[in-house]
């Protein structure tokens, strides 16, 4: 039966996330925006709290490590609202509080999502409780992740990694990094595998932390690998190079994480729209749902339009998560949600600053911060353009060699 409300059983989780966002994130939001690169100690407690929440059992456990596209089909064809939906709902609330802080919650890294999605049972057990970041981008390979140059060579019982990774979110704070490297640069996508490298492994060097426009509470690291040796069993997925599988192994993580980034965008955008409505209400701006937008004022009409865009983005995101929970392939829908939510979030936060004028632009409010934070959401985890490519290829039935 078609129903698009927040599932009843996930409302407590959503409300809990909202109270964390309100009680923990918002009060320290500006502090860590200003104090870039200082670790938010307040989050240690939160990491423990989330571990507790996530190990509490039930299929609706949220968190990066619980994401999976392999949600089972429920008995009798019932709709399943599981970990993907829970994570998306929780993340939107946390990012309503602060997107940068949400990215730096211990053990909730993108690397954890990769481990959750592709690790074998032995690895899942071994890496349990490990906070893992994700290292894909290189100075010479951003959106074109097939062009990465970091290499992994098997030498006895160890992989030897060499290369440079940039833009590693939580790369300094996490306890491990999931590194994308190629087994054979000539073999293309199929040779790209991911490896878990624990912090402190000789040959792994934290080169620097970047200074950023937004999400400054989250650290973004450059990491160098020089003859960095890791155990043979630290490869995620198979070591075989199967051209037929292409990018499958490493890319499937994204089907699950893109709706989560979309959810981050929803959180930032709803914070901005809410605040803009609140500030503008003081000037008598009051959008109404009964009268047509154009028979209200220009500002009211604009606020309604932004809200409609945001609501569409929200439903697209829930749809992508719902598909993953119900084992329906959602590669295209995940990209659709990410494309829509991220561009809407950027537009909403920027317009909110404009509509609120100096109040929006000044550091006295968080509106200007959200407008800085939102920009990265349309870039990381696949830019707007990459999402559209994925959607278009799927719609048009084109290979990446045809629609490039």
């Amino acid at each position: 039966m078609i129903a698009l409300e927040v599932p009843k059983k996930l409302k407590p989780l959503r409300d809990q996330a909202r109270s964390i966002a309100k009680g923990v994130f918002r009060p320290i939001s500006r502090k860590y925006d200003l104090a870039e690169h200082s670790y938010p100690r307040e989050l240690d407690m939160l990491g423990a709290l989330m571990d507790g929440m996530n190990s509490a059992g039930g299929e609706e456990r949220a968190g990066a490590g619980k994401l999976s596209g392999g949600g089972s089909k429920k008995r009798g064809g019932e709709s399943r609202n599981g970990a993907n939906m829970a994570t998306v709902l929780g993340m939107a609330e946390l990012c309503w509080g602060d997107c940068g802080l949400a990215l730096t919650i211990p053990r909730q890294g993108l690397g954890n999502a990769a481990i959750g999605a592709v690790a074998n049972p032995e690895q899942k057990e071994r890496f349990k409780g490990l906070w893992a970041a994700m290292a894909i981008t290189e100075p010479g390979a951003g959106s074109d992740s097939a062009a990465i140059r970091t290499t992994a060579r098997l030498d006895g019982d160890e992989w030897v990694l060499n290369g440079e990774k940039i833009y590693v979110t939580a790369g300094d704070r996490a306890q491990a990094v999931v590194v994308w490297a190629t087994l054979d640069a000539a073999a293309g996508r199929a040779a790209i595998k991911s490896f878990v490298v624990e912090k402190g492994t000789p040959g792994m060097t934290m080169l620097r932390l970047d200074h950023k426009m937004g999400i400054r509470a989250s650290d973004t690291a450059t990491i160098i690998f020089e003859d960095c040796r890791i155990p043979k069993d630290n490869i995620l997925g198979s070591a075989d190079i199967k051209p037929s599988e292409g990018f499958g192994g490493v890319m499937q993580t994204f089907d699950n994480t893109r709706p989560v980034v979309a959810a981050m965008a929803l959180g930032v955008a709803s914070a901005a729209l809410e605040k803009a409505n609140e500030i503008l209400a003081r000037e008598g701006v009051a959008p109404r749902y009964d009268a047509p937008a154009f028979s209200q004022g220009a500002v009211e009409a604009e606020l309604l339009r932004l809200e409609a865009d945001l609501e569409a983005a929200r439903l697209l995101t829930l749809k992508a998560a719902w598909m993953a929970d119900n084992a329906v392939p959602n590669s295209m829908e995940a990209s659709m949600s990410k494309a829509k939510a991220a561009r809407v979030a950027n537009a909403v936060t920027l317009r909110a600053v404009e509509l609120c004028g100096a109040l929006g632009y000044s550091e006295r409010e968080l509106l200007e911060k959200w407008a800085r934070d939102s920009k990265i959401l349309d870039i990381f985890e696949g830019t707007q353009q990459i999402q559209l490519l994925i959607v278009a290829r799927r719609l048009l039935g084109k290979r990446s060699s045809e629609l490039r």
């Binding site: 039966m1 078609i2 129903a3 698009l4 409300e5 927040v6 599932p7 009843k8 059983k9 019932e78 709709s79 609202n81 939906m85 749902y289 009964d290 009268a291 047509p292 937008a293 154009f294 028979s295 309604l304 339009r305 809200e307 409609a308 865009d309 609501e311 569409a312 983005a313 439903l315 697209l316 829930l318 749809k319 719902w322 829908e333 659709m336 494309a339 829509k340 353009q385 559209l388 490519l389 959607v391 278009a392 290829r393 719609l395 048009l396 039935g397 084109k398 045809e402 629609l403 490039r404």
Partner: protein, 439 residues
């Protein structure tokens, strides 16, 4: 009782899902011939309908359709089996009957002769009418309605409007009509689902707002006197009666039943940019005197409120926009793959491919907003916000999709060999129409 009703409606649906509608509706072929006949039709059809408006069934109290209800506590995007079956049979009708008829009907400014009768075989009107009125007694299920409307508009939005307008009248009579009004005006639909009738809400002025109607109904003696102008009214040349929206003295916006031959009513054709096949017209009401019982519903305002009707119409129009936009998407995909330029399919160019991806993204957003509003309406939950947002997105993104559809085809999109220019003209209506349908 409900079970029995459902069984009957399922029977009906199964019958049509299993039949080859295009063949069954052989009278629609060839389309051209029928359209020629259609243009000659004039006002004849109406006379027969007018004669019917005598009380047919004795009812002690009005017969209402129960809300479908339902539990929205689990997120789910799958229609029920019954809804899916209905969707499937309407889709077949849209593809086999509506799509081939759309172009000629647009030229003729009217649906082809026999079209409403053919569409009536889908059983949509009977399904909406309670059993005690002779219908199949389906529930009021806005999700089923938006699925149906999407399919109809996928066929053609103008012909979809020709089908949806009488259905809106049926819904209004079911939800609001008094026993006598139902007996006179609803019962005929149970016998003949192909009757023409329409709501008349939109007025010819800028910034039209369904909450601020210029058409007035003032009390005079035992009845009402109406003055005003209604426009873009579907089935204007064939409707037996209209439900005319007017600001009623002391009551606010209400609907009045006005039969087409009523003194003081002048009907004239009003062809527009699009939706032409819906036979659009203008109603001028000059000192039109109506009896007390022409006011739809009880004086106490039981039944749907005006605001609920506005919400409902917004959901319906959004669903129509979704259908037309899906038609655009499904047309531009093969075109972009087959059309070559610079030595390769144009779909190999990101400038082209990204426009198509954007169409898909926005279309799905529109659909989900529409479904959320409809599901809340069906469950009886507040949905003013959801209906408003669905409409706003349908207006903006729908028109963008319409214009991008033509752009993707280039010059070919501008000429009438392709249907995209038709869909473009239709999609502009979503921002203009606010009211006039019900789910």
């Amino acid at each position: 009782m409900i079970d029995q009703a459902m069984t009957r409606s399922l029977d009906l649906l199964t019958r049509f899902a299993g039949s080859d509608l295009a063949k069954r509706l052989g009278l629609l072929e060839p389309t051209q011939r029928l359209v020629r006949e259609g243009t000659k039709r004039g006002f004849q059809a109406a006379d027969a309908a007018v004669k019917r408006f005598q009380p047919l069934i004795k009812l002690v109290k009005p017969a209402r359709a129960p809300r479908v209800g339902g539990d929205l506590s689990v997120f789910d995007l799958r229609p029920t089996e019954e809804q899916a079956m209905m969707q499937k049979s309407v889709r077949r009708f849209a593809v086999d009957v509506m799509r081939p008829a759309a172009r000629a009907a647009d030229d003729a400014c009217a649906p082809p002769a026999g079209f409403l009768a053919a569409a009536a075989e889908l059983g949509l009107a009977q399904l909406a009418i309670p059993e005690e009125m002779g219908g199949f007694g389906g529930e009021r299920d806005p999700i089923a309605d938006v699925l149906v409307l999407e399919e109809l508009a996928y066929g053609d939005m103008a012909l979809a409007l020709a089908i949806a307008a009488p259905l809106g009248v049926v819904r209004a009579l079911v939800q609001c009509g008094t026993a006598l009004q139902q007996s006179k005006y609803l019962a005929p639909f149970a016998e003949d689902g192909g009757l023409a009738a329409a709501l008349a809400v939109v007025e010819p002025r800028p910034l039209f707002d369904p909450y601020r109607l210029a058409t007035r109904a003032v009390r005079s003696g035992e009845g009402w006197t109406l003055n005003g102008v209604k426009t873009l009214v579907p089935l204007a040349s064939s409707a037996g009666f209209f439900l005319v929206a007017a600001a009623a003295e002391g009551l606010g916006p209400r609907l009045f039943i006005v039969e087409r031959d009523h003194q003081g009513l002048t009907i004239s054709p009003e062809p527009a940019m699009g939706l032409r096949a819906a036979d659009l017209g203008r109603l001028e009401l000059v000192d039109l005197a109506l009896p007390e019982d022409a006011l739809l519903g009880e004086d106490d305002g039981s039944g749907l409120s005006w605001a609920e009707m506005v919400d409902s119409a917004r959901i319906a129009w959004s669903a129509l926009a979704v259908g037309a936009c899906r038609a655009v998407l499904e047309h531009v995909i093969p075109y972009a793959n087959e059309r070559h330029a610079f030595g390769e399919p144009i779909s190999h160019r990101q400038a082209v491919a990204f426009m198509i991806a954007d169409i898909a993204v926005e279309l799905e957003g529109m659909r989900l907003l529409t479904h959320r509003a409809a599901s809340r309406a069906g469950a009886g939950i507040e949905h003013r916000r959801e209906a408003a947002l669905a409409r706003i997105q349908a207006v903006d993104k729908g028109m963008k999709i319409g214009t991008d559809g033509i752009q993707l085809l280039g010059g070919a999109g501008f000429i009438k060999e392709h249907p995209v220019e038709l869909w473009y003209r239709h999609l502009r209506a979503i921002g203009v129409m606010d009211g006039g349908l019900l789910v």
